[in-house]
């Protein structure tokens, strides 16, 4: 780099020497002979996460220093950046922020280190079973859960005073509202992408069905999976969804509801904070409930999201990386992220925690929030998390998701049995890295 001038003029040579010197100095620091170890954390952008990193650096007392490398905003881009680096054997990665659907893929590709012994025990302690399942592959633990997430049903109690208990009820109410000329749409992520797969996965799990076998090696697509297709078809072909349904992602859905374009919204809890920000006057009417169920009397199983922290197999400082990862998601830091950044914790005990961030001072929603002020819906979230659905665990999830969203798009064109057969054959190909993904 620095010695590329090559003209032989003294200033150039000087610059080369200085440049080379700086480069070497940088390398020495990175190797951490005297200055302590640098751990590179690759994680999605999260507004206040630097504070968590700072906490852990303070706690490490100079033994290591975590550097927070912000990944892109889009989940696909995050995955790609890490996968490319890891495939090329980049030794500069230590801690990886993985979306819950990527853990089997990174484990199988040999990019994520297995968690064992005391680290494993600590990573598993007090974690809700759903989130924990997302960090596991082939009965081994490959990541520590950082946060989880679960969708809820949101509604306006001026339009529908009670949340519908089943999908049938929800569709019925929506049709009645439509007949009465009131806001009636059922809003959800219907674009051809992961969001549609999340809805479908929830419906399949709630109907007691399976897309893949337990070990993730073969395609099942049983009766429950077909029933889920029927529901999706019915909801989207009876004029009770937004005209932009097939272009709507999470934030479009949120905006459509806030504009008064719907009676029901199926979405992540972030919509509550946005609603509070943008329409504080109506906030009292913005209500939530767990997803409506598919089978009357059997609670819905809602698909969970969130992030896990893994240690890269290319890391040069694995013991420190495990320790740092554990710190980044410990109880205090999870609570901090939960109330400051709106990411629900994966530790069960935090849902009943009543102390504010600064226990010495009184609770204050703006300056000293507690779980109760930040998550008025925390009981509902916990209820959904306790009986949650996990997306199919397989290293080929990315291909599966692309294929499912393609075959289900647009949902109004679904022909349940035929679509199920198509999914079965296309997904089998995808699992064997044979088929083409659209």
């Amino acid at each position: 780099m620095g010695n590329g001038t090559g003209r032989g003029r003294p200033p150039g040579r000087m610059a080369a020497v200085v440049g080379a010197g700086m480069l070497t100095a940088g390398l020495v620091t990175a190797c951490g002979s005297d200055q302590g170890i640098t751990l590179n954390l690759y994680y999605a952008p999260e507004d206040t996460f630097q504070k968590v990193v700072d906490n852990c650096n303070a706690q490490a007392a100079g033994r290591y220093r975590i550097v927070y490398n912000k990944l892109q905003r889009g989940a696909d881009d995050q995955r790609l950046q890490m996968a490319r680096r890891l495939a090329a054997g980049d030794k500069g990665l230590d801690i990886l922020g993985l979306d819950v659907t990527w853990v089997p893929e990174f484990a199988e590709a040999g990019w994520a280190e297995e968690w064992t012994g005391a680290n494993k025990a600590q990573a598993e302690a007090g974690v809700l079973p759903g989130p924990l399942a997302t960090a596991t592959w082939n009965d081994k633990l490959y990541a520590a859960t950082k946060n989880t997430n679960v969708q809820l049903l949101w509604y306006d109690d001026r339009i529908t005073p009670q949340a519908p208990a089943t999908w049938d009820q929800m569709v019925g109410e929506s049709e009645q509202l439509k007949a009465a000329g009131k806001p009636h749409n059922i809003l959800f992520t219907g674009a051809q992408y992961e969001g549609l797969v999340v809805i479908y996965n929830t419906l399949v799990a709630s109907a007691g069905g399976h897309i893949l076998s337990e070990d993730g090696k073969s395609v099942v697509m049983d009766q429950g999976a077909v029933q889920a297709l029927e529901i999706l078809k019915r909801v989207t072909s009876s004029g009770i969804t937004d005209p932009s349904l097939t272009n709507q992602k999470e934030d479009d859905v949120r905006q459509a509801f806030q504009r008064g374009n719907g009676a029901f919204e199926l979405n992540w809890p972030f919509v509550y904070a946005s609603y509070a920000d943008e329409q504080p006057k109506d906030l009292a009417h913005f209500k939530w409930s767990t997803y409506p169920s598919v089978q009357p009397g059997v609670p819905a199983k809602t698909t969970i999201g969130g992030y896990d922290l893994a240690v890269s197999t290319t890391s040069q400082h694995k013991p420190e990386a495990f320790e740092a990862a554990l710190c980044l998601r410990n109880r205090d830091n999870q609570k901090f992220s939960a109330v400051k950044d709106g990411v629900p914790p994966s530790l069960e005990s935090l849902y009943t925690d009543n102390t504010p961030l600064d226990p010495a001072k009184p609770v204050d929603a703006d300056n000293n929030p507690s779980m109760a002020t930040a998550y008025p819906m925390r009981d509902t979230i916990l209820a959904a998390l306790k009986d949650a659905a996990v997306r199919p665990l397989t290293p080929a999830y990315q291909s599966l998701s692309t294929v499912i969203s393609k075959v289900l798009s647009p949902p109004s064109k679904i022909d349940p049995q035929k679509t199920a057969d198509e999914l079965r054959s296309k997904l089998t190909d995808a699992l064997n890295s044979k088929g083409v993904i659209p």
Binding site: D76, L80, A83, A87, E105, E108, A109, G110, A191, Q192, Y193, P243, S244, L245, T246, N247, R259, P395, A396, Q398, S399, T402, K406, S409, P410, D429, S433, K434, G435, V436, I437, P438
Partner: protein, 316 residues
């Protein structure tokens, strides 16, 4: 792309090429020097283009999925069979072809009009040319985003005024039309630029003579200008066809390939980069490479396009 042997040689080389064995010592030394001087460029070319192409052909013969590294094996032509028997691939191929043919045809007509206007403009010629070139100067992704927002209900002026209450980017035909529109808007100036260079080839005397003979404007255009411009027109068509066939960014932004609007490049990206499936993805890249080569071959052999670097004027 279309590399054609350089036959516009200097007279000296022509003599050497005519096969006379009597090369003087000096000539031979000169030749050696020539090879030596070419060598670095040739080596770089081999390293940056030939090697990746050969490597992707090699990858296309394997089951090679980064997610299942232990399952890597040589599978012969199985990947080709998988891709060529897949409906997704052929849908994407057909979509790409439709976009290519329609957009290039529209661009040719519009580009010719624009070229004639730019060629004939007397007042503010510089300004007219600059203004018409602006779309070509805008980064495609940026332009695609403005089209995207313009056609999204609520935020978009075009969607609100022209599409009523519907979302055109969620339907097959409208989204395809919008993709083609974005392509045409973006690259017509390029077409016009190439055609304008061709217009400069048409001697004024020829046009005046034709006018004297009583040819009207349309006859002068068809019988005089177009034949003289033929090499320029065909080069413009070839360039744009190859370019249009590789369409990626407009689709990526406008629809991300939804509603069957995925192009072959988009699908290759999904399999190779997003899907980490190097085998299938490389197979698709090789197929695109072959298709592009065929298109170039057809243009050069059948239509006699003058290849860049050749001054044969299409008389091959």
């Amino acid at each position: 792309m279309s590399t054609v042997e350089d036959v516009s040689a200097t007279p000296r080389q022509t003599t050497a090429r005519s096969g006379k064995p009597a090369l003087s010592e000096g000539k031979r030394a000169e030749r050696r020097l020539g090879w030596l001087l070419c060598a670095p460029a040739a080596i770089v070319m081999v390293a940056v283009t030939a090697y990746p192409i050969v490597y992707s052909v090699w990858l296309s013969l394997q089951r090679y999925d980064l997610r299942f590294p232990q399952d890597t094996e040589f599978v012969g032509l199985a990947n080709y069979a998988a891709v060529l028997s897949d409906s997704y691939w052929w849908t994407a191929f057909a979509t790409t072809m439709v976009i290519t043919v329609i957009s290039v045809a529209v661009e040719l007509v519009l580009g010719m009009l624009l070229a004639l206007i730019m060629h004939r403009t007397l007042v503010g010629r510089g300004l007219v040319r600059t203004v018409s070139l602006i779309p070509y100067g805008i980064v495609t992704v940026v332009a695609a985003f403005s089209w995207y927002y313009a056609w999204t209900p609520d935020t978009g002026y075009l969607a609100n005024t022209l599409a009523g209450n519907s979302a055109p980017l969620t339907q097959y035909i409208p989204s395809l039309a919008i993709i083609i529109l974005a392509e045409v808007w973006k690259t017509t100036p390029f077409m016009a630029l190439l055609l304008m260079a061709g217009l400069a080839l048409v001697p004024d005397d020829l046009l005046k003579a034709a006018a004297m003979d009583g040819a009207n404007a349309w006859q002068r255009f068809i019988k005089v200008m177009v034949p003289v411009m033929k090499p320029a027109i065909l080069v413009a068509l070839l360039f744009r066809t190859l370019d249009a066939f590789r369409i990626f960014d407009n689709i990526y932004v406008l629809t991300s390939g939804q509603n069957n609007t995925s192009s072959v490049s988009m699908q290759t990206y999904n399999n190779l980069i997003k899907g980490l499936n190097l085998g299938i993805g490389s197979t698709m890249s090789v197929l695109i490479f072959i298709t592009v080569a065929i298109i170039a071959f057809i243009f050069i052999k059948l239509f006699g396009t003058a290849a860049p670097g050749s001054d044969q004027g299409g008389k091959r």
